[in-house]
Symmetry: C2
Subunit: 437 residues, 2 copies
């Protein structure tokens, strides 16, 4: 803890081997790296003091939510301080009347929704992991519900942020509508902790659907399934997810290209079923009762876990391309062809309503790592050629930094670097992430 001891006078810190180990990796396959210490601040003032000092001393500070991110976003690759937000876990305000919650960054979104149970309102972003709201904002996380409600960025009304030099700013506000000055809120959403530390967030609450119907439909081909998905627009769909026949077979299900949907308006499930049959479905099942809905969706719900469990000891690379939705079929066909051509195991899972598709690729050794990285690069290049992005919802993190110029061009990346230099001239905040060197 050499050099850090004096911090202990006003903030909890730890350099225990277990703590350092626990803050060295996320769910991505990126190599772990331990921080020198973990700091557990309990207030904005402590974070401001810590950053002021670290900025002067040029010590790396990497914010940490729950470690559930998928691109190495919170791995402290340059050591220094891991800034855990776990003790900033208070819900400061719940206002149904104003349709907002004010939360500290360490609040888990599931906890917020537990507190909201019975009110008819919820925080409408759901991701796979038990993520913190601060982490979801920093990474602009999305998930299956985004097809209806949008990504996290659509749910943030305002932030409190501590800048690298310790300045505390407030962005946005409590009003649902705001058009008053530069949108600093969205500068920090998705900035992955590289521009400031989010210490408080005002998030929007959404009315819970009063009706939910699940629909699962099997198709004779990817083309049929994704064409069908594109015909479901205009219906009140809460999710339009896709698993290919290989993934379904791996999960022990009927090996068919399958859509998993959810509808929130009475009558839309029946209309969707008609469209599924018209699009060539070979089987369609619907359910409105909760247990039955979960049963229909079971394969989708356990997909990620099952692919991890089937490969003990392996690391997983997860691609995250998103293309204009009309290009999804071409993208998925390309990914399947490349998996086959490269003789790779990969599990293909799509947020079909948004054009976002993941391929989960296990790897065990250096040769396999290079093989899956080669596949990832090919996927990104194809996505960009179709007008898509390298990252739909996981962020840039470590591994996608070198795709940024290809996607945005040198001028835009140049401007991103200028903004980084403006906000964090000593480059202490989450170094080695998001921007290429």
């Amino acid at each position: 803890m050499k050099g850090y001891e004096h911090l202990a006078q006003w903030v909890s810190i730890s350099d225990s081997p277990a703590d350092r180990e626990n803050h060295s990796s996320d769910i991505s396959g990126h190599s772990p790296h331990k921080p020198d210490i973990i700091a557990y601040p309990e207030s904005t003032a402590q974070i401001a003091r810590l950053l002021t000092w670290a900025n002067t001393e040029k010590i790396p500070v990497t914010p940490w939510g729950a470690g559930t991110s998928a691109e190495g976003n919170p791995i402290p690759v340059r050591g220094g301080i891991c800034l855990s937000l776990e003790r900033m876990h208070r819900i400061l305000k719940l206002s149904i009347e104003d349709r907002l919650a004010v939360v500290q960054p360490g609040v888990k979104y599931r906890e917020l929704n537990r507190q909201l149970a019975g009110t008819g309102w919820f925080f409408a972003v759901a991701v796979g992991g038990d993520a913190t709201i601060g982490g979801m904002i920093a990474n602009n996380a999305a998930g299956p519900k985004a097809v209806k409600y949008g990504a996290t960025k659509a749910h943030v009304l305002g932030l409190e942020v501590v800048l690298a030099d310790g300045r505390v700013i407030r962005t946005g506000g409590r009003s649902a509508k705001q058009s008053c000055g530069y949108n600093l809120t969205q500068l920090f959403v998705g900035s992955e902790g590289t521009l400031g530390v989010i210490t408080e967030a005002i998030v929007r609450l959404t009315p819970e659907p009063t009706f939910e119907e699940a629909l699962v439909a099997q198709f004779p081909s990817v083309a049929h399934a994704l064409h069908c998905a594109s015909t479901l627009s205009g219906l009140d769909a809460g999710a339009i997810e896709f698993l290919d026949r290989a993934y379904m077979g791996f999960l022990g299900e009927e090996p068919a290209d399958t859509l998993f949907c959810e509808f929130h308006s009475i009558g839309d499930g029946a209309e969707a079923e008609r469209r599924c049959w018209a699009a060539g479905a070979i089987a369609v099942r619907r359910a409105t009762e909760a247990v039955e809905r979960a049963r229909l969706w079971a394969a989708r719900l356990r997909a990620y876990t099952a692919s991890a469990e089937a490969n003990p000891g392996a690391r997983l690379l997860t691609t995250d391309t998103a293309v204009p939705v009309g290009k999804l079929q071409e993208m998925v066909s390309f990914l399947q062809r490349e998996l086959s051509r490269r003789n790779l195991t990969g599990y293909l899972l799509g947020h079909a309503g948004d054009g976002n598709v993941h391929v989960i690729l296990p790897w065990l050794n250096e040769a396999q790592r290079q093989a899956v990285n080669g596949f990832s690069l090919a996927a990104v290049e194809k996505s960009l050629s179709l007008g898509g992005t390298a990252s739909g919802e996981h962020g840039v993190g470590i591994g996608k930094r070198h795709y940024l110029k290809g996607e945005h061009g040198a001028n835009a990346v140049g401007l991103m670097k200028e903004i980084k230099s403006l906000l964090d001239p000593a480059r202490i905040l989450n170094p080695g992430k998001l921007l290429p060197d």
Copy 2:
């Protein structure tokens, strides 16, 4: 045109008195100011060349869409060049398949929607004026549909922007989902032409509602009407608008506090009617047929025009506060009390579903100008005290610059100024707007 003649070799310019007059004011009450010349570029390259020169020569450049903004946003208060985007009016791509349009900034949103007629898709922001999409993006315009679809910022997937020094950048992309690097798109949305000139936009298309039902309900008090509005959440409302009894009376209608709503799901109109009666409505009318819907909404549709026409020769100040929706009733009561206490004529119109309310105040002379400005300041101070904003949808422009610090604090405004200095160090872009001096 002294000093500008050489521009004519490669871009259309004009200094005719009529042209200068036509580009000296918007619909706000702010004093007109003429540009030295108007430039009519036809390409991004011409804009880049013009900005490169103006930046070197430190000549003000103020972008101009259609002049329909409400806060003086495009008035060239420091003279120089008015950069009209009217010749950049091409729709470059319409893709129903990908649910997007690529447009030049001078495309009017109504023209885009005319081109989309019959496709089942539309650009889902509607403002009162015949605005350009570039202008709507620059001001983050909203309007009645925002309660369902969000403001313009929710509809922009990507931009091409020319920076003050002539650099051309591309932000975002064509994918509905994006989480790949800093959100430069939202840095320019709502920046009112002070950070760059938008030369192309990728905008989201939205499925048209397949069903529309209008509902107009009268209430015995503001409190009843706005309480009712708050109970309509969870229904598929395309608009929830409010006119107070004074405005209704002025319009020659039954002088009752009135909600104007639109619903897009079958059954929601009937459910809304039940909620209106439960909330104490004294009259409720509904209609699904187009002509009848327009008739029900007639008072709301002609409200702004009628208040302008009733005050020939007057200028109009329009307040634009937006508060957390649970605070709307307190805000409206305050505004009504202040109008009465100050003995002012003011027309009160609310986007009740969003907490956004306008008071339109005519003024004819300096004494009246001071009186309406005093009211505006009181409205903003009240809004901020309720956690609201000085501007829900019109932007900052000229008159609200001095409210920025009160709303966002000195540190946040300081960061906005640093960003301005980074992007426009010579301060040529729309000087005198958005930021306080």
